[in-house]
Symmetry: C2
Subunit: 255 residues, 2 copies
DNA sequence: TCAAAAGTGTTCGTCCTACACCCATGA
DNA sequence: TCATGGGTGTAGGACGAACACTTTTGA
């Protein structure tokens, strides 16, 4: 036998019309709280995550970066895919219209509306101060919301945020990503707060300091933080070169 | 403003015709080697991973379990999503026809062939002896191949396997999943080989033993392994109850 | 009786924890 | 001068790496 006799194109290509989008869960830290960027599509509806479809010549990462750029203005920041959400009924393009009966939200009948929409969940870490949230292309506005006061959201977006947070915590053990939430120059106490807020548990100051320095991936700068009403802490910077070297020699970032 | 003025359905629904499938990377261990199940669609072509489209009423996990069942006969085994592969040109339905010019592989012109196909990568851990590989619904056959002699595969399947292995290694730090590769009753030396093979590095016998027992998630059975030409090792079984208890009290599975 | 492999114990070093102590700063 | 927070030192304990020793088995 040379040809595969089992194969029949008509059985193989299952024609469920489908769109795949991305939903970045954008984290930042401000006022000692972990925050997530939530979008408002229409003020009368529940909030949702920023998101968008994957366009013709994009891969998923491209799309996530684009959505991030549209809503925060930021490029090339920490962004990582963590899970696909694919329940058959997780999303419907008619939801908004069914809720509000606004003519402009009515799915037109002359274009093919996909039966299903999957979304690829991403999480991103950004420095709060560098972001001026906008609604991007789809939404009216977006805003930071404390992780522990997230309201009920559209679709399965509450679930997506839960999974994003637990993926973020997992990732902390493999990559020292916390510094992405801080400005380029930061102090050890600041970094410690990041870890405490993400992991939601207190860490011992002196030991935290020593561990971070032992990793040898942060460069201590000459300067110290100005304008604090007590001893001025050193400033540090993430050092990519040292990081790459540390990775090669095999390091683990367990806390 | 009540209505979202930015919104226009015609801009929002981007009509790229798209299918999403799953590709489980099925791992097992035999003859002291880590193996992956590879499928042959047509003997004249490169091999590939088992796979299939996500059907109408399935989510991604359902589809992956179905493909696994079709190719191995197994149900409810360890299976975990790890990444979506979404490059615009990663897959084409015409590939096989372009290669072989066999009429039966020609995409019919009267049905809509999707422009793009994404795949969700899964990895699965199975006990070698319980599997009798078949081609499943799509392929002619499937067979176990050593992880370090994987040939060049169709599409981006080599990349998928690489990512699967590194995800498997990562996951070892969060879940003690190695036992899934063994029969229900196993010995500590057997478990140690599993870890050594997956991580591709030797571990110290006595320390490994102690660590596994300290985790307290394996139950030592009364019996010992029969038919070995030296001291007979104890048999153990993974104990779900103890595992759940250990998780609650906060355990980490660092090696 | 012996080789091989399994189980257990011991030593040593490293790292983590907790706490103490001193330093620098603005109020 | 004092309260506050940052940097560093140290004693004690937990744990891992390496290795030694004993036990059990089939050949």
């Amino acid at each position: 036998m040379t040809t595969n006799q089992k194969f029949n194109f008509r059985n193989y290509v299952k024609n469920t019309s489908l769109t795949v989008g991305v939903n970045p869960v954008i984290f930042s830290v401000s006022e000692d709280k972990l925050k997530v960027l939530l979008a408002t599509f229409d003020p009368r509806l529940k909030k949702s995550l920023p998101g968008g479809a994957i366009l013709k010549n994009e891969n998923a990462d491209d799309a996530a970066n684009r959505v991030l750029q549209e809503t925060t203005g930021l490029e090339s920041i920490f962004l990582k895919q963590f899970h696909v959400f694919s329940e058959p009924d997780r999303f419907s393009y008619a939801t908004v219209y069914n809720e509000l009966h606004e003519e402009s939200y009515k799915p037109p009948e002359d274009i093919d509306i996909p039966d299903r929409v999957f979304t690829i969940g991403y999480f991103a870490l950004v420095n709060f101060d560098t972001v001026h949230p906008t609604g991007g292309i789809i939404n009216v506005m977006s805003e930071w919301v404390d992780i522990d006061t997230i309201p009920e959201l559209m679709y399965d977006h509450n679930l997506i945020i839960d999974e994003a947070l637990s993926s973020l915590r997992k990732e902390l053990f493999f990559e020292p990503i916390g510094y992405n939430l801080l400005p380029e120059k930061f102090t050890m106490p600041e970094l410690q707060r990041i870890y405490e807020i993400i992991l939601d548990k207190p860490l011992t100051r002196s030991n935290f300091q020593r561990k971070m320095l032992n990793w040898g991936i942060y460069e201590r700068l000459g300067e110290r933080k100005e304008g604090v009403s007590h001893k001025r802490p050193f400033l540090y910077r993430f050092d990519k070169e040292r990081y790459d070297k540390a990775i090669k020699t095999g390091i683990n970032f367990c806390l």
